[in-house]
């Protein structure tokens, strides 16, 4: 347990009880006091009645990964008392509704009973309000206990309910009931408390799906087709919201189209049809959707049609854990569809990068004329993150790739071939339907074709085309975002390769390891195909830990196959329980491997000798 501006609060609620917004007020208030916070919503695949949790880590040092162990537990769900009480660290606090008093069997924690139901019963007449405002009462009580400036929460409530005055008043009433009770009954503030800080000054709070939807607007996407699936739904909804905000013409009509399709097959098909016809188009989905889309992804690969797919990954296989996070679609996406296919993948690490990679993805898809899959996950997509403000460079040009317009078609000297590699980079020139009365028409097909897009059953011609597609994929290597390298010690022979939303956990893990005397370098992958930097990083280290959230070490397999790194060099560090990773998990796994694995110990000795 830690102290000022550094602790974890967890709320245990029943879903559908209105707790989500109250809990988010709490997190937002801390953020407004200048503190980095990382709210994690741990929710069931259900609408009403099942347990749900909301966990907020406050870290002035800026550690935004999950931290195991709870310092203050707000236990509002009797169904889960037993497990919730167990999670509280020794010396921590348990807040519960003491309208009905009870014992929790732990004498190493502080139990703070607040008769929340009784307070609400006195204060509100409407039975619905008596239930709903219980959530705000505990937020008020917490504000007193940890020392949140109450005016900050009042302002957040005001912003939320400015159009509904009666709700604003009722919320404020409930807030003060809780606050007054804690100030009167407990010694406030607790040793776990907050102080105004500037650690989060200038930053914003946004979810990855919101940022990605906005990124599609900035990228100039005009067609979105999707099918509802957790955890990607809010991405398409964000796009539609921003479309209505930023893209309305003088007649009140939209500069863009959003279609909720009949299934994922149609969703990606619509995006591909639009991409073929010259619009920037995308779909957003999760693992089961990727399985359904695979046939179409293969078509877009082979017929060379730009399309962007957001895969907000969740727990698999099959229906799996729809409301938990994983990075377990790596192989399924890298090689989606039958036959020899491979696809460009981007790996954002937080909402800010979701925004940037959304924009990047459309340029890449059009430059390469191929599907680009943005590999987000539930933790990045649905949780709200504290990140630097989003930025857009107005001088940035959208790169539409090799498209021949009517003028270019007129100026052509040689016969144009839709699948002809004129530039040696594997990327042919395309035309958009309706461009020219006599030139540039061709027949798009998923069957084997010649350079001129006509059908062929000549095996050699087809093989030549497949080889060109591979050449194009090599070209992609130089276009995709390069990895970021955290070089902590140039003599260290131990490295980490990781990607996506585990960034904060890995960085904290590196700090924890260094504290214990182990200095490791780290490389964060940002795209597939892998840049040559990846193989070079592996070559510079004796042993490399590959950290990923799946059972089978999918990224490790891809590194072995596609970056040519020897298998024995890559040590898997795997987590697949569906929860966001913690720094302690990363450090713990690596440390125990260092202590038990002879090869790793050797690598460590080599590092020391080099020093």
């Amino acid at each position: 347990m830690t102290g000022v501006n550094d602790f974890v609060v967890k709320f245990a609620n029943v879903n559908g009880s209105g707790s989500a917004s109250a809990n988010s007020f709490f997190a937002k208030a801390l953020f407004r006091m200048g503190l980095p916070v990382s709210p994690k919503n741990i929710f069931p695949s259900n609408i009403q009645g099942l347990p749900t949790w909301f966990e907020v880590r406050i870290s002035e040092a800026g550690h935004l990964a999950r931290r195991e162990g709870v310092d203050i537990m707000v236990a509002m769900n009797p169904q889960t008392y037993a497990q919730d009480v167990e999670e509280v660290v020794s010396g921590g606090y348990l807040i519960y509704d003491s309208t009905r008093e009870r014992e929790f069997g732990r004498d190493d924690i502080n139990v703070l009973g607040i008769p929340i139901a009784r307070l609400c019963a006195f204060a509100f007449d409407d039975p619905r309000h008596r239930q709903l405002f219980k959530n705000i009462v505990y937020v008020g009580a917490l504000a007193g206990l940890v020392g949140i400036e109450i005016s900050v929460i009042e302002q957040i409530i005001f912003e939320q309910f400015k159009r509904k005055e009666h709700l604003n008043d009722a919320n404020l009433k409930a807030l003060h009931i809780g606050l007054d009770y804690s100030l009167e009954k407990f010694k406030c503030p607790l040793p776990l408390r907050v102080r105004q800080s500037d650690a989060a000054t200038g930053k914003i709070m946004i979810s990855g799906n919101d940022a990605a939807g906005l990124g599609c607007i900035y990228a100039g996407a005009t067609v979105a087709a999707w099918y509802p699936i957790t955890p990607s739904t809010s991405l398409a909804e964000a796009f539609e919201r921003y479309l209505n905000k930023y893209r309305i013409d003088e007649c009140g009509r939209k500069l863009g189209a959003v279609v909720q399709a009949e299934d994922e097959l149609a969703a990606v098909g619509i995006a591909i049809g639009a991409g073929w016809n010259g619009a920037r188009a995308f779909t957003a989905t999760s693992g089961p959707g990727i399985s359904l889309m695979s046939e179409f992804i293969g078509l877009a690969y082979f017929a060379e049609i730009p399309v962007v797919i957001f895969n907000v990954q969740r727990g698999g296989p099959s229906t799996g854990m729809p409301t938990r996070t994983q990075q377990s679609d790596i192989i399924a996406c890298a090689y989606a569809s039958h036959g020899d296919t491979r696809h460009v993948l981007l790996f954002p690490s937080d909402p800010k990068e979701c925004f940037e990679m959304a924009a990047e993805a459309f340029d890449l898809a059009e430059r390469l004329q191929t599907p680009v899959i943005v590999m987000s996950d539930l933790d990045i997509g649905m949780n709200t993150w504290v990140v630097d403000p989003l930025e857009w460079d107005d001088s940035r040009k959208h790169d539409r790739g090799k498209v021949l317009d009517a003028e270019a078609l007129e100026a052509l000297k040689e016969k144009w071939g839709r699948y002809k590699d004129s530039d040696g980079d594997g990327i042919p020139y395309r035309t958009i339907p309706g461009t020219h009365p006599e030139k540039g028409a061709y027949f798009t097909r998923g069957s084997s074709h010649t350079e001129y897009a006509s059908y062929t059953e000549d095996g050699l011609v087809n093989a030549k085309n497949l080889a060109r597609l591979l050449r194009k994929f090599k070209t992609a290597m130089s276009m995709v975002p390069r990895p970021t390298i955290n070089q902590r010690d140039e003599n260290s022979k131990l490295g980490i390769i990781y990607f996506g939303g585990t960034d904060h956990a890995v960085r904290e893990g590196l700090d924890l390891l260094e504290r214990d005397g182990y200095r490791l370098n780290a490389l964060r992958l940002r795209a597939f195909p892998f840049s040559p930097d990846v193989a070079a990083f592996a070559a510079a280290h004796e042993r490399v830990f590959v950290i990923e959230q799946n059972r089978d070490g999918q990224m490790r397999s891809l590194l072995i196959t596609e970056a040519g790194i020897q298998a024995e060099k890559l040590i898997p560090v795997l987590n697949f329980d569906g929860m966001p990773l913690s720094g302690a998990f990363v450090a713990g796994c690596i440390q125990s491997t260092i202590e038990t694995n002879e090869h790793v110990a050797n690598a460590l000795r080599l590092s020391v000798r080099a020093v």
Partner: protein, 351 residues
């Protein structure tokens, strides 16, 4: 072979339309279908319709799925972009293409397997969305490319070439489309070009979803005596509900028909269809009557052809979801990207 170009030999006296194009200019590569295939007659009718409508071919996009029928989009309008997509997935491609550019004509060619089985879901939803396209089903009741299995439109108890009995109910795509509120629903017969060409022309001028279910016998696998989708059966059992003339907007509409037997249907672009009714009580503007008529005739073993239903309230996906009048694929990135200033304002709301 599908990839053989037709030699471009032009007879100097070939008739030209106002664009200076001959029928030959609307052709595609040589057909590789079996000689006598109904689909080739449909292709010929499409070519004739486009020639007569004076369509600039590049302003039309040809879309198809997989199967014998879907191959035919290569056999006409070589100056138009074509997209031979996945089995049963042409409606999704058509939807996306149409959203990207509302100004082109979208002509989808599908078959009964492609539409009534693997693609039934997408077909239904394209109808529901009132996608502005012409959707032609070349309906032969059989899977030709895989050598003669029954399709979902094959009549119950109809026999296969090998003598097998179809155990399952037939699906009537026209009835289905009417139920799902398609704007324009017609049935034709590949062997009746006189009826087919005006139907295709009208469908192309209609704004909204236009279905043309064309009975197109498979000479190889489903043209035997016991088949209900054979040339002989259809010739003997088809009943035309109306005779259709199509009058383009740019031409004067001349009165040359009997008032008492004619319904005039005006299209959104000002052109009109004249329906010469054979049955005095048949009105294609009434969906319930249309459904009833199809069912009654079907019970008697008859196949009703002609314009079965038309909704004069022309409406399409773009008007429903309120997209801009301009093609989305022509909007400049400057118009689409809000720029840095709004982003800064947005950042402020996220603090």
């Amino acid at each position: 072979m599908t990839y053989m170009q037709k030699p471009k030999i032009r007879h100097p006296r070939l008739k030209k339309n106002d664009l200076g194009l001959t029928r030959r200019d609307y052709e595609g590569v040589l057909s590789t279908l079996c000689a006598g295939c109904g689909h080739d007659s449909v292709t010929a009718a499409i070519i004739e319709a486009c020639f007569e409508l004076q369509l600039p071919a590049h302003r039309l996009a040809k879309l198809s799925g997989i199967g014998c029928s879907s191959k035919t989009t290569a056999y006409f309008l070589s100056q138009a972009h074509g997209f031979n997509s996945l089995h049963g997935r042409m409606p999704a491609i058509a939807t996306g293409a149409n959203l990207a550019n509302r100004d082109l004509i979208y002509l989808g060619v599908s078959g009964d397997g492609d539409t009534a089985s693997i693609g039934l879901n997408q077909f239904c939803h394209a109808v529901r969305r009132r996608l502005n396209m012409v959707y032609i089903v070349e309906n032969n009741g059989t899977y030709g490319l895989t050598k003669g299995q029954f399709s979902a439109t094959n009549d119950k108890n109809s026999k296969s070439k090998k003598g097998g009995n179809n155990l399952f109910e037939a699906m009537d795509l026209c009835a289905l489309a009417i139920q799902l509120k398609a704007g324009f629903v017609a049935r034709g017969f590949s062997g009746d070009k006189a009826q087919l060409v005006p139907l295709i022309k009208s469908a192309m001028r209609y704004r909204g979803f236009a279905l043309l279910d064309i009975i197109s016998p498979c000479v190889t696998f489903n043209n035997h005596a016991a088949s209900t989708k054979s040339y002989d059966y259809i010739r003997d059992h088809s009943e035309a509900v109306d005779k259709l003339d199509f009058v383009p907007a740019q031409e004067e509409i001349t009165a040359n028909y009997d008032e008492g037997q004619t319904v005039n249907v005006t299209m959104h672009d000002g052109s009109s269809m004249r329906l010469h009714k054979l049955e005095t009580d048949y009105d294609p503007r009434n969906a319930d009557e249309a459904l009833m008529h199809i069912r009654k005739r079907y019970a008697e073993g008859e196949v009703v052809t002609g314009l079965l239903y038309v909704d004069q309230e022309e409406e399409d996906l773009h008007s429903l979801i309120e997209t801009t009048e301009r093609p989305l694929n022509e909007l400049s990135m400057d118009e689409l990207c809000p720029g840095s200033q709004p982003l800064e304002e947005l950042n402020n709301t996220l603090r």
